[in-house]
């Protein structure tokens, strides 16, 4: 059992900084929920409040109906995996994994049995008598997992557990974490700023920004139908293209003008965003995922944009291409504004759109092309509030 409910949870530090602003999250028993957001968005603070390492300024945290606000960390029935593993360096792997059991005064025989079972599951049998300093990064990560699993807690808390590993090991450990969580079925709250981890691990993803929950949804929903321009640009690498558009409603027909192009909305777009037609016209922000810009290959389409190739980046597996579109101005909410290190920083220049294409496509810089929009590609946002229409 392990249903976790955060109700209007707020955290204000002594210096007046509010790190978490009224967080409402309901994590079902056995669910894997990922808290995702950029540095300083409050996700780790939220996790530490659940662990009992930070006091809660306001609101309540409940685990299986029991209010945890004033419960000591050790009495919360939660286990935590830290970013830097936090293994006890002077203890063997066996003692590290057995530490929580020893604190609970479990008999030696039972301790050994449970340590053995966990070591078997995580492939640590050979390492049991080694010290953490003698282990590789991946093995240390497994020991940290083992120490969490061995207690059979109601809730796993994981604070960026993969961020200290190299890229290859990260993929491997990601798969292992997923497998372990599925096997034990323990409710998990997982904090990361890595959207690939969030998309692959989470049953649902909670995107945070500046202490405020932006959207909580399945990874596919959050990616395909972002709740606002922040989620749209934060999820995806590169993030969603955002164009200034002008909505034109003429009876049943709805179209949007992007620069000099006029693109009719298709059935999927109108069905999934009924408020767009009801808006009756006016300025909107149009979002299009880079992979939804395609080359029509001679097939006539009325959902197209004339574009000029400005720059291409060959990533090996695919090609990123930056286009200028006649008469189009990019909205100020550019990926570069969200994440200064975004590879799409070049796309922040005025009137450039970014597309991602298969590796067999070649563009000549300066050439003119016609791009088509995939069915259902366009998402619409309010230009003032930035929220989805």
């Amino acid at each position: 059992m392990g249903r976790l409910v955060l109700d209007k949870v707020r955290k204000q530090y002594g210096d007046g900084v509010v790190a978490v602003k009224g967080l409402d999250i309901d994590v079902a028993d056995g669910e894997f929920l990922v808290l995702l957001g950029p540095s300083g968005c409050g996700k780790t603070t939220a996790l530490r409040m659940v662990a009992g390492l930070e006091e809660i300024t306001d609101g309540t945290i409940e685990l299986d109906g029991r209010v945890l606000n004033d419960v000591e960390p050790r009495a919360r029935d939660v286990a935590m995996v830290f970013q830097n593993y936090a293994l006890y360096p002077h203890m063997s792997v066996r003692a590290n994994i057995g530490f929580p059991l020893k604190q609970r005064k479990l008999g030696k025989a039972e301790r050994e049995e449970r340590i053995g079972a966990v070591a078997e599951t995580l492939g640590l049998v050979e390492q049991l008598d080694k010290k953490p300093g003698q282990l590789s990064g991946g093995q240390r990560q497994r020991v940290a997992m083992g120490r969490a699993i061995v207690r059979e807690p109601s809730l796993f808390l994981m604070d960026e557990p993969l961020s200290n590993l190299d890229a290859k090991l990260r993929v491997q450990m990601r798969i292992e974490i997923h497998a372990v969580q599925r096997r034990f079925g323990t409710t998990t709250l997982y904090v990361t700023h890595d959207q690939v981890e969030a998309m692959t691990l989470g049953d649902r993803v909670a995107v945070m920004r500046e202490g405020v929950l932006q959207q909580i949804a399945t990874p596919a929903e959050a990616y395909g139908a972002p709740a606002n321009v922040f989620v749209a640009t934060f999820l995806g690498n590169p993030g969603m293209n955002l164009f200034d558009g002008e909505l034109e409603v003429d009876g049943d027909a709805v179209a949007v003008r992007i620069g000099e192009a006029r693109v009719p909305l298709d059935e999927a777009e109108l069905r999934s965003q009924p408020a767009v037609r009801a808006r009756g016209g006016g300025a909107v922000v149009v979002g299009v995922r880079p992979e939804c810009l395609v080359v029509p290959n001679g097939i006539a389409t009325d959902r197209g944009l004339g574009a000029k190739v400005e720059l291409t980046e060959d990533l090996g597996s695919n090609v990123l291409a930056y286009f200028s579109i006649p008469g189009m101005h990019r909205t100020p909410v550019a990926p570069a504004a969200v994440d200064g290190k975004s590879p799409a920083a070049a796309g922040a220049r005025d009137a450039w759109a970014l597309g991602r294409f298969g590796r067999n496509i070649h563009f000549d810089s300066g050439s003119s092309v016609r791009l088509a929009l995939e069915p259902g590609a366009m998402r619409f946002f309010d230009p003032d509030s930035g929220t989805a229409i």
Binding site: P73, R74, M80, F82, A86, Y88, H90, M91
Partner: protein
């Protein structure tokens, strides 16, 4: 005719030595550094050698020369120092005082360091500053009040007088060093222990203390050196023969009108040996404490 082959000259000792020095170290500045360090090493070892060579002399040989190598080699000075001046008793007393001081100091430093570095409590900062402020007080200024206090407590001529005093005098530095060291430990370890179910005491005993070993060893060495070598308060508080420590007791070898120098330096050497041994034993921990955290 046989072709004469020029014999290959075997490289000289100097050349062979130079060959063993990596090229990067063959610069004049490196040579100057090595000479400087040699001088430092000699200046450190010279007093010991002086005592050893002096102790091996007869009084006649001492009067002839103090600096050269001894022309005689006699252990008479050692037996005389050991027998006539109770050196064995003084060393035992010093060992008791030093052991007591070190144990008490480490307990105080470790618990106080834990409280100052890892726990939150009202008045922590003010208390810490108060403890540190005692670093600025010269111990000699405390002689009269300490004597008065110890005599009113009935502790004059007991080991406890100096054990308590030495611990108190060293506490500000000990607590400062321990607090700094423990502050450097990753917070996550303490947090992990809290979540894993350990209370304040279990965290201290099972997590903090084992990780503080390098700092504890460093403090042990400092406190051993201090307690063993302290003279002024030992002279003041330990006046009867049965409790005198080595630094005070060895003075007995200095007569009022004449001094038998070989016996005096033999006594000094005997009283120095235990502390040199302790230093050599703990040296590796000292080095470890100094480089701790330098590498991941």
């Amino acid at each position: 005719m046989e072709a004469a082959t020029a014999p290959t000259a075997r490289p000289g000792l100097w050349d062979r030595m130079v060959e063993r020095v990596p090229p990067i170290h063959r610069s004049p500045s490196r040579a100057a550094q090595i000479v400087g360090m040699l001088l430092l090493a000699i200046s450190a070892i010279f007093p010991l050698l002086f005592m050893l060579s002096g102790a091996l002399r007869t009084p006649a040989d001492w009067n002839h020369s103090q600096l050269g190598l001894p022309t005689t080699s006699s252990l008479e000075a050692f037996t005389s120092a050991w027998g006539s001046a109770n050196i064995g008793l003084y060393i035992r007393n010093s060992a008791i005082v030093t052991t007591g001081t070190v144990i008490l100091s480490l307990i105080v430093a470790a618990t106080a360091g834990y409280a100052f570095s890892q726990q939150d409590w009202r008045g922590k900062r003010a208390t810490y500053l108060f403890v540190l402020a005692w670093l600025a007080v010269p111990p000699v200024a405390l002689m009269v009040p300490v004597y008065y206090e110890m005599s009113s407590l009935g502790l004059i001529n007991t080991y406890w007088s100096v054990i308590l005093l030495y611990t108190a005098l060293n506490t500000p530095f000990n607590v400062y060093l321990m607090t700094s060291y423990l502050r450097g430990l990753p917070d996550e370890l303490m947090e992990a222990a809290r979540i894993d179910g350990a209370g304040i005491h279990a965290t201290f005993v099972q997590v903090i203390l084992p990780m503080a070993r390098p700092a504890l060893a460093t403090l042990a060495v400092f406190n051993v050196l201090y307690a063993w070598n302290e003279f002024v308060f030992a002279l003041l508080l330990l006046q009867t023969e049965s409790v005198k420590t080595a630094t005070v007791g060895v003075l007995q070898l200095q007569g009022r009108f004449s001094v038998n120098y070989p016996v005096l330096v033999a006594g000094l050497l005997l009283t120095s040996l235990p502390v040199i041994g302790v230093y050599l034993f703990f040296q590796r921990y000292l080095v470890r404490a100094i480089v701790a955290g330098a590498v991941k």
